[in-house]
Symmetry: C2
Subunit: 271 residues, 2 copies
């Protein structure tokens, strides 16, 4: 369980304080904090709270959403990412996950260029703060308005275009990339290039009834999670395995029981 | 309008006879017939009916669904595809579109092997009947249970593995492939190899509220349909542009008005 991390969004009905109270009871050692969980809180205090709970902050979710048709809106996005970098630094998060963004009707190639430019604009601040950035390729079903980066290959291409700075890498989420025939090769490449910054797990249910909020608990679906996880570990990755589940179904359940299920499902997966 | 084709599933509430009465009124010259529209009908009569209506049968939808965990079930799938070939021949359809299939939890690589074997088993009958087969790459969001073929590259690989028979090609549906960064190159390759057998259009709505049945009429969404269509035409493709829309919203409308909208939307797109 020493590598189990849970995202605050996974147990969305719980406050950050409840997460910090409940997660450690199941042996969860890492927490990825979504920015909405920080609302109204003193960031230095959050850093102390997580340390007091014995939890490691694995990452801050989420930055990104760089593309926009107007330069003014693109600058606002960059400003928001600079704020995220300050927040990550303040709570002691070593990493920000980037959901890169897309604009319906704008060419994906143009959006990827704007994403590259947006990350470049944030890079000096990220490096100064000691905060890394992880491009998360999103499933192609989100190419309309959430991310123009839909494969690990594209994430690598953006890293290349940026000159391969050590602070920019990739977040691999099995939900988004499990179908990709190049997945193993691209994970290997991420290992070789030092870009494998984060690893997220959940499952793909059949049927999936909602494009956003019907993700499955590990074991509820068809993804070869353990195999992908082994590919990730084979690169030398020793970071947390982060449980990130958006699910109307699970959010409607008792979150204490849900956390029990997460722990047992994780235990089965890595038994 | 000489290249406009409509799928019977697009106007699902209409019977085949109603389609044959209504489509030509809007200048629709091609019809792709879904197998359920043939139920209870004499196939030779369907061939005469479509000819009498002045409509060209563009293709029969759909064969495929080859993968299964048991060999018995795989053989049943092959038998069903052989039946589809007989049906296509009987109604005068030169083409069958293949939704290739997938089995939740079975490795996609294994499913693609079973798809290749399944097509190989049907090939002699297809060639004897003069019916072509078109592999339709499906969007990665259908990789769990509908198709392990999710990119044009994979469809090409299956054609290659079969030894590139002239009767096996690819159906390009903008809904499934619009996000693919390799799309133009793979369409070019399909042209060069004589594999571009069919071209389907509709649109991707933002938000999309249902994974299966929330496709948009051309213009309702974000797909660069005209650009992709121009890539297709640039290969020398002169076949029909087939409007294939699965939509609870449109099926609930007056189908006569919907057909008017299809015709005007198509007219705007190719003005």
């Amino acid at each position: 369980m020493s590598r189990l991390c849970v995202h605050t969004i996974t147990t969305k009905p719980l406050s950050l304080e409840q997460c910090l109270a409940e997660f450690p009871k199941r042996g969860v050692s890492g927490i990825t904090i979504w920015r909405q969980a920080l609302e109204g809180r003193d960031l230095a205090n959050v850093k102390h709270q997580t340390a007091d709970a014995g939890m490691e902050v694995v990452s801050l979710c989420r930055g990104g959403f760089f593309p926009a048709k107007s330069a003014t809106v693109r600058q606002k996005a960059i400003d928001d990412n600079l704020l995220a970098i300050e927040q990550a630094h303040a709570i002691g998060s070593p990493l920000i996950v980037l959901v890169c963004g897309a604009v319906p009707g704008q060419a994906l190639v143009e959006s990827r260029k704007q994403i590259t430019d947006g990350i470049a604009a944030c890079l000096p601040a990220a490096e100064a703060a000691g905060v890394k950035l992880a491009i998360e390729p999103l499933h192609p079903m989100y190419a309309d308005d959430r991310s123009a980066v839909n494969t690990m290959r594209q994430a690598h291409e953006i890293c290349d275009a940026l000159g391969s700075p050590a602070s920019v890498g990739i977040a691999v989420d099995v939900y988004h990339v499990w179908w990709d025939p190049e997945l193993k090769a691209q994970i290997d490449l991420a290992g070789q290039t030092g870009r494998l910054h984060a690893f997220h797990i959940c499952d793909w249910k059949t049927p999936t009834t909602d494009l956003l909020n019907d993700r499955g608990l590990m074991g509820e679906g068809c993804i070869n999670i353990r195999e992908i996880s082994d590919w990730v570990d084979a690169t030398g990755f020793t970071g947390h395995r982060e449980v990130e589940i958006f699910s109307h179904k699970w959010w409607a359940e008792d979150q204490s029981l849900f956390l029990d299920q997460i722990a047992s499902s994780y235990g089965n997966l890595y038994a």
